[in-house]
């Protein structure tokens, strides 16, 4: 479990984006200052394999640890897409319970737990948004607005740098590509809906989404942030 000066982290952007391999504040041995990591690193495949095995065995403490590492990431992403804290809480709960009941669905050899949880969280949040649209009860909100809520600002400098790098990579995109990605990812829109919203051909929307993501990946990789983690 990552700790900071003895205070227990309840999951934060650090857990969401921290990658010990990135440049930034380093100490000898590569550890992030102030953190006590498990052998192999809290976000290492070793830890994730261990926690998966414990989840398969029905160890509730393992679930608590995963929750504490990734709750703010999962909840923040859900909230960003849905725009409703209560619904985001429901979706977040579903995500963790899905992991609890289907731990074998996560394979540490094929990707990180963060990616797995993030993919599931986004999918469930988008499903919520689309069903609410269908039921015409969605609270109006526009992709691009920052959600209300308590930003978890008590995070390590390295994690802040990483988060800012990702935001900077998005900001470096042509406005048209960035807008498409924001509408799709945070607005829960299909590429058709993105095209309709922006008044562009569907093919253009598809292309901008793909090229924009590739560009973000290239920028982050050039900065040493490994999208494969």
């Amino acid at each position: 479990m990552i700790r900071d000066d003895g205070r227990r982290r309840r999951g934060d952007v650090a857990a969401a984006v921290a990658d010990p391999s990135t440049s930034g504040i380093r100490t000898p041995g590569g550890q992030i200052p102030g953190r006590q990591t498990r052998p192999g690193g809290a976000f290492s495949g070793e830890w994730e394999a261990e926690v998966r095995a414990r989840l398969v065995a029905g160890n509730e403490q393992a679930l608590a640890e995963v929750y504490d590492q990734f709750a703010s990431f999962v909840f923040g992403l859900a909230q960003r897409v849905i725009g409703d804290p209560r619904a985001a809480e429901d979706v977040s709960q579903e995500v963790f319970l899905h992991l609890w009941e289907h731990p074998e669905g996560f394979d540490p050899a094929r990707g990180s737990l963060r990616t797995w949880l993030g993919t599931l969280s986004h999918r469930r949040a988008v499903d919520y948004v689309r069903r609410e649209e269908a039921r015409r009860r969605r609270t109006q909100r526009e992709a691009g607005q920052r959600p209300t809520g308590v930003p978890d600002v008590a995070e390590m400098a390295t994690a802040m740098i990483t988060a800012e790098r990702v935001r900077a990579a998005l900001d470096a995109l042509p406005a048209q590509q960035r807008r498409c990605i924001q509408l799709a990812y945070f607005g829960g829109k299909t590429y058709r809906e993105v095209a309709e919203t922006l008044g562009i051909p569907e093919g253009t929307a598809k292309s901008r989404l793909r090229l924009g993501l590739h560009r973000v990946a290239e920028i982050l990789e050039a900065q040493g942030l490994d999208p494969w983690s």
């Binding site: 309840r10 999951g11 934060d12 952007v13 984006v17 029905g58 509730e60 679930l63 929750y67 990431f73 999962v74 909840f75 992403l77 909230q79 804290p85 809480e89 429901d90 977040s92 709960q93 319970l97 009941e101 289907h102 669905g105 094929r110 990707g111 963060r114 990616t115 993919t119 599931l120 969280s121 986004h122 999918r123 499903d127 919520y128 689309r130 009860r137 308590v150 930003p151 978890d152 988060a163 990702v166 998005l170 990605i181 799709a184 990812y185 829960g188 299909t190 590429y191 093919g203 598809k206 292309s207 989404l209 793909r210 090229l211 993501l213 990946a217 982050l220 942030l225 999208p227 983690s229």
Partner: protein, 361 residues
């Protein structure tokens, strides 16, 4: 995805709009490649996502690109971390404990308890706007809850732990109709309370009577205790998905251990179901291979004959365990069920026709 995609864990059967991809015929690969960005961002309809996943399964080179894009999308999402409310942690851990924390019973008992816990969460999350929404078994959502109360209270009655003595009907439809009528003008919480009391009575009994060989009289049959519990667990699963669809949520299969209990019961009783449904084929041997969570292989005589497991079958049917269970639960139209078949194709129809008999237990 490509690899390790939790989206594959959830079924996508539901009221989603059709995409414009012709799944039944060839689709230009270039069209699918252009969708990879949208796929990574969850910006596809269900049909398109399914087409892309099938495409990536045969194009590992592009699967790697898709992985890269998905992970990049997750990085983007990770910038939005927010401190989660304290109630979330408490809720997650409490529900996790309820669904799997108590592993003191046998597999059938645990399946009944865990499936009931999940269903309770779904029932309690019903919105008043959902009550009149239709479900696949013909009942509205609220009346489906009454049906649950009818079913579990019948089990409670059979095991001499009667919760609703004034309702004496034992036939499923008649009992459900009586419950719907009885609770028509009551708050839904009253229905839920009766259902929970009934399910709790059954759970308590199941933990006291752990002898698998004990039988109870259920729907006119003397059935092993475990069979009734697993059948109830299966019904809990199916109806939870019914209610989740009403709520606009994706369907969710149960944990693998529970799936195994369900498929074991479904396939071990299939020979009997063939006989009772008029679909037996004496002298013919079938092998059913179920893949994925809950999978296994079952070989049996279609006329009820005992056969050796290594006998050469007249027909081998291969499908996912999930699809078989959905057919058995009458939530997958047999016309949409596309197993791989080797051997006598004429034997498939009676097998599929007999599958739902298990769900009437």
């Amino acid at each position: 995805m490509v690899m390790n995609d939790p989206r594959r864990d959830a079924t996508r059967r539901g009221d989603e709009p059709d995409g414009d991809l012709s799944l039944g015929g060839p689709v230009d690969d270039a069209v699918l490649v252009e969708l990879l960005g949208a796929y990574a961002l969850d910006a596809l309809d269900a049909d398109e996502a399914e087409a892309v996943e099938a495409f990536l399964a045969r194009r590992p080179d592009l699967a790697r690109e898709a992985d890269r894009l998905v992970r990049t999308a997750v990085w983007v999402g990770a910038t939005e971390a927010l401190e989660a409310p304290p109630t979330l942690r408490a809720g997650v851990l409490a529900r996790a404990h309820a669904r799997r924390g108590t592993q003191s019973g046998d597999a059938a008992t645990n399946a009944y308890a865990a499936s009931g816990a999940r269903l309770r969460d779904t029932v309690k999350a019903l919105d008043p706007d959902d009550y009149s929404e239709p479900t696949p078994n013909g009942l509205g959502a609220r009346d489906l809850v009454a049906h649950l109360a009818a079913q579990d209270s019948l089990v409670a009655q059979v095991i001499d732990r009667t919760v609703v003595p004034e309702v004496t009907e034992v036939e499923v439809d008649a009992r459900t109709a009586k419950f719907v009528e009885r609770f028509r003008d009551c708050p839904i919480d009253d229905v839920i309370e009766v259902w929970i009391r009934s399910a709790d009575a059954v759970q308590t009994w199941s933990r006291d009577d752990s002898t698998p060989a004990s039988t109870i009289s259920w729907l006119g049959l003397d059935l092993p205790r475990n069979n009734v519990l697993v059948a109830r667990a299966f019904e809990n699963w199916i109806h939870r998905d019914d209610l989740r669809r009403v709520q606009g949520r994706v369907a969710e299969s149960p944990p693998t251990a529970e799936m195994h209990e369900v498929t074991n019961l479904a396939l071990s009783t299939l020979p009997f179901a063939l006989l009772t449904s008029g679909n037996s084929r004496p002298g013919k041997v079938a092998r059913i291979v179920l893949t994925g969570p809950g999978g296994g292989t079952w070989t049996f005589g279609m006329g009820g004959e005992r056969v050796q497991p290594d006998i050469s079958p007249d027909v081998t049917l291969t499908a996912t365990a999930l699809d078989w269970c959905l057919v058995a639960g009458e939530r997958l139209d047999p016309a949409q069920f596309t197993p791989e078949v080797v051997g006598d194709l004429s034997l498939v129809e009676p097998l599929v026709a007999a599958a739902p008999a298990f769900a009437t237990l």
